[in-house]
Amino acid sequence: MANCHGPGQTTTQETATSTIVLVGAPNVGKSLLFHRLTGTYVTVSNYPGTTVEITQGRLDLFPGSTLALLDTPGLRSLLPITEEEQITKDILVRDNVAVIVHVADAKDLERSLALTLQLMELGPPVVLVLNMIDEAQKAGLEIDRRALEEKLKIPVVLTSALENRGIAELREAIAQALQNAENPRRTRDFSLDEIVEAHRRTRAIASAVLRRTQARTLSLSERVSQLTVHPVMGGLLLVLVLWGLYEFVGVFGAQIAVGFLENTLFGEYINPWVTQLVQRLLPWAFLQDLLIGEYGVITLGLRYAIAIILPIVTTFFFAFALIEDSGYLPRLAMLIDRLFKVIGLSGRAVIPIVLGFGCDTMATLVTRTLETRREKLIATFLLALAIPCSAQLGVILGLLAGHSLAVGIWAGVIALNFLVIGYLTAKLLPGERSLFYIEIPPLRWPLLSNLLVKTYTRVHWYLKEILPFFLVASVAIWLGQITGIFGILVNALAVIVQTIGLPREAAVAFLFGFFRRDYGAAGLYDLHNAGALSGVSLVVAAVTLTLFVPCVAQFMITAKERGWKAAIAMAAFIFPYAFFVGWVVNLVLTTLGVRL
């Protein structure tokens, strides 16, 4: 495949787009180093496999140089296992690769050098970067850089991307390596024996250049780390983390911030002002409706996006970045692996699932990091069915706020659905069980600047993706109302909605749910404010809407990632199933005479 690129391809193109490739195992600080070298920000994180997409930046080594710097997904050996590793390998054997920069964890020299040895056989000059040298020194490790250079016969640079150390030396080393002659390109794939041999040589080299200056002691972070993976203490800590997440996103984001933006900013300033302006400028009623009507582009679309969705999503992404950068996610994966095995997933799947609580669409993309097709399918399906996204979650929690029993019933029903449907899907779907392995990185203090930039990048991406959608949805609803299609659909849905014990008006919220999940939930919010929903029907509506079909964006991504057949099959199951569960919940609650 990638090996068929002969060395004799056009040289003009080669020199024009000479690339420098950053490779290395997951979680060695490649992305941060990339950021230090180019100044362009990419996602930096502790979780192996988050850098799904290849990031490209410009590297200005000397005036007039046009070099591209590529950041690649984590790679452990040139015998790729996952799709991402295959991608990285394909990039490495491209013709325009000028220099390969191998970024390795200085603490982990024994294992990392094996990849260096493999990379050296590819052809292009290799520069070895031992990153996180600060952590290695703290751990009492001393690396003899010169001895290592002599043994490997390639430049070795010690850096700490976090502390911005050694970056200038690295630039110089890359510039030097560019002058070096290239070895002949290797076209043969690596065999397992060669990899094992590389590991054997690595141990010999590492023992020659490594010196331990002090006995291994348990640092504070290591002690805390032990706690996080303890079955009991870890569980308690998880509850604490979830509680913190709820307080920050559910209470601060979804209630205080939303309340301020919606009631004060929009309610008192923007909406009255825009309404006045539009009424003065546009005398036509139907155009007025488009902009400021009940479902107007500004009064509904913009208000939902800015006042309800933005604060919730921002707080969630900030909290997620914090969890991600501290290195907690792999520990969570480890704690939950046994439970997830029951529903056919491995611990690795906590990442997309937790991310799903932020945005299911994004999470569906991230299911790519899972290993087997079976696992990907189950995770995608559960995301579509039972994981409410932060916007929806925030609105639903706001809706049920004050009724702790209602929140309990809602959460219980959703969790039960997640487990039961997951278990059944795992039973039904053929394919082998996936194996679980994950590296547990040291716990680190996240850098505030990193968290902010990361949150900003994600929120920016999110808004760019959804804002047009909200506006389009508003226009679509307006068109639907004018032409009467909307009325017909609402009437059809109303029949179903009434059978599960909800008022007719809730049908509108469900119709919105097609456009965006949270859009529907937000519609429910308005309905609740009008006092149209009793306690029980509120829970029923919340449960049904949570399970209800994914938003259009998630549906499109599901189709793209898993194929149309799978996406349609999922939607076809979820649509009646959500109403069925709503019906059952309504039946049980009314029969038992529960008052909420």
Binding site: I81, D108, A114, S225, P231, A333, F436, E439, I440
Partner: protein, 146 residues
């Protein structure tokens, strides 16, 4: 299973043999200890599985006690993909590892890194222990001496 009276361990097929002459035959739910003749109900499936998991030492990482540092002497994964995985993680013959915990996941430490593995992967790694002499057939070539 294990005889409750004399502690003799035997398999069910062994226990069924003396029953051949008994008129109850296959319909009888009791098993007979081949050592002392004591009759006892059949061991439930979960108990024998638990016993297997906790008693039968098979020389793999999965059966090791936490806190023990040892050396990997062989890797015997269920398929090639698993072998690639273990290789990529650096879990190869000759590498020294320390088992930190078994529950909720196997957590091992090699050098300065910690890796979590599930039971299936852990039981694919054969390790040296002081009570056992190293197996003569490691996966590749030599079991290195220190």
């Amino acid at each position: 299973m294990k005889c409750a009276l004399c502690g003799f361990e035997f398999s069910e097929s062994e226990a069924k043999r003396p029953c051949a002459s008994c008129p109850l035959g296959a319909k009888c739910d009791l098993v007979c200890c081949p050592n002392c003749g004591y009759q006892a109900p059949r061991e439930p499936r979960w108990l024998s599985r638990w016993r297997h998991r906790h008693n039968a030492y098979d020389g793999t990482l999965a059966a090791l006690r936490p806190g023990i540092e040892t050396e990997i002497i062989a890797v015997r994964p269920r398929d090639k993909r698993t072998l690639h995985k273990l290789t990529a993680l650096g879990l190869l013959p000759g590498v020294r590892v320390r088992l930190l915990r078994r529950f909720p996941c196997y957590l091992i430490e090699l050098g300065h890194t910690q890796i979590a593995l599930d039971r299936e992967l852990a039981s694919a790694i054969v390790v040296r222990t002081h009570t056992l002499t190293p197996s003569p057939s490691p996966l590749r070539g030599r079991g290195e001496k220190e």
